[in-house]
């Protein structure tokens, strides 16, 4: 199979890159574009550390062949802080000690962003389900669940 030229809009900027057969979206982001917030944990879609938004849906980037998403819009953690200001989810994670070693944090925040975009006032159960594909080995999850609920309240307060 030949390589293809693929166009992606990543964090609002257009990029063209060479997609060798089977090149994953994660590899394209990390190796071609230098966006290393999304982490390569299991490389089989079960740990969630590589979650990014693909056309506003949370997906594990390690399972997406980049040639299949030509023209898509991708948002990574690097594109969350508009104008260099932490957004509500990031601020809530910071203030709520929702990160320890940090390896899961990028995926957790992107999963939370997808949830809150779809459901601005989630229940605890909604949050738990939204991050059910994301593994954290440090926190015991409680600070993360609390931070996502806190972020929803902060965002509601800002738009009210």
């Amino acid at each position: 199979m030949p390589s293809r030229i693929v166009t992606l809009t990543v964090n609002d900027a257009d990029h063209e890159l060479i997609a060798t057969p089977g090149l994953t979206l994660l590899a394209a982001l990390r190796d071609a574009l230098g966006l290393t917030a999304a982490k390569r944990g299991c490389a089989q879609g079960t740990c969630g550390s590589c979650v990014v938004l693909l056309d506003e849906r949370a997906v594990p980037a390690c399972l997406v062949p980049v040639e299949t998403v030509d023209g898509a819009a991708v948002r990574t953690l690097e594109g969350v802080a508009a104008g260099g200001e932490l957004d509500e989810v990031q601020s809530a994670f910071l203030d709520g000690f929702a990160t320890q070693c940090g390896f899961c944090t990028s995926g957790m925040i992107m999963a939370a962003e997808a949830l809150l975009a779809d459901n601005p006032s989630p229940s605890r159960q909604d949050v738990v389900e939204a991050i059910s594909g994301n593994v954290c080995r440090c926190t015991g999850y409680e600070p993360i669940v609390a931070a996502v609920l806190d972020a929803a309240r902060r965002r509601a307060g800002r738009t009210a």
Partner: protein, 334 residues
């Protein structure tokens, strides 16, 4: 068929550090030209928060804002020696070394300030906002940035300090068996409340209550997080994780994250955690190590809760549905 409620508890005493050939860690600290104090360590922060805690120790000792502290860790080629991040030793050993280094640096800091302000160093104090000033005076003071510049370019001084915490190897007294292997011990108790489904064998942890005597919680939020994150690991060890489910037979071992089970966000109980503080004489500001112990007491607490719920005494982890059901069958057969 029913969901059976049970409650169990377990307590743990846990040593801080180790007792092989001695247990040292070293720290160096120096001021840059603009008054940032760089702490050089070989020690590793792997997410437990060592950098935060030693920065607190240095800021408190120097009498400076924490923004003036920069912690440079984990270069074993160039940093002062550290035994490592293990044995619940980091906060205690490295915190002590950093306090010692910062104490030496503070003496130099006050010495240079005394020359700049033309007063006696013993009459100086730090105000915690970045100034060194003459006690009782609002006028005779100098900011740490100006002080560091003066040290470098006027006085030709380095504002620096060396620290080492050395826990000597403790030999056993042959006659009595006495020894001091660990400097201090932290203590904890955990209560677990579970429900056991006697049809499926599934154990659900409903709530977990933990009390930890930590010496001094240098950073209460992070100490609480260590307690609760560690409890998650304990729950995982008790109910989910194993690499050899039929040990010593090695069949059916998990090969990846799809088969190696860990509790997710939906499997966690409500946790209630309390910290008690009885400062340790050897600890940095009294702190003890609570790294590893936090994963320990949840396991026997859950085992005891299962026994309380259904009478099954499980002795092999994890307490899988299969083991619970086999235990219930044995009870009924007996």
């Amino acid at each position: 068929m029913a969901r059976l409620f049970g409650r169990g508890y377990a307590a743990v005493n846990y040593p801080t550090g180790m007792n092989l050939g001695g247990d040292p860690s070293q720290a160096l600290i120096h001021a840059t030209t603009t008054g940032t104090f760089v702490i050089s360590l070989s020690s590793v922060d792997l997410g437990q928060g060592l950098k935060t805690v030693v920065a607190q120790c240095a800021a408190e000792t120097l009498g400076l804002p924490i923004e003036n502290i920069l912690v440079d860790t984990a270069d074993t080629d160039t940093g002062p020696h550290c035994m490592g991040t293990f044995a619940s030793r980091g906060t205690h050993r490295i915190g002590n070394a950093v306090i010692m280094a910062a104490t030496e640096a503070r003496a130099v800091l006050l010495d240079v300030a005394a020359e700049e302000l033309e007063v006696d160093a013993a009459d100086l104090e730090t105000d915690g906002t970045g100034y060194v000033k003459l006690k009782g005076s609002e006028q005779r003071k100098i900011h740490i940035t100006d002080l560091a510049m003066a040290a470098h370019f006027t006085h030709g001084r380095t504002i620096s300090g060396r620290g080492v915490y050395m826990k000597d190897k403790s030999e056993v007294v042959p006659e009595t068996g006495e020894m001091d292997p660990d400097s201090c011990q932290a203590h904890a108790c955990t209560v677990a409340e579970v429900e056991v489904d006697d049809e499926t064998g599934i154990v659900e942890v409903l709530a977990m209550y933990s009390v930890y005597e930590v010496g001094r919680a240098l950073n209460p939020a992070m100490a609480t997080q260590q307690v609760e994150g560690g409890a998650w690991m304990g729950i995982s060890h008790a109910l989910f994780e194993t690499t050899e489910p039929y040990y010593p037979v090695r069949d059916h071992g998990p090969r990846d994250f799809t088969e190696y089970l860990m509790p997710g966000a939906g499997d966690i109980p409500v946790q209630h955690s309390v910290l008690l503080e009885r400062p340790a004489a050897t600890g940095p500001f009294g702190a003890k190590g609570i790294g590893e112990m936090t994963a320990n007491s949840p396991i026997p607490a859950i085992a005891n809760a299962i026994f309380d719920a259904c009478g099954v005494r499980l002795e092999h982890m994890p307490f899988t549905p299969e083991r619970v059901l086999r235990g219930i069958d044995e009870l009924h057969a007996g």
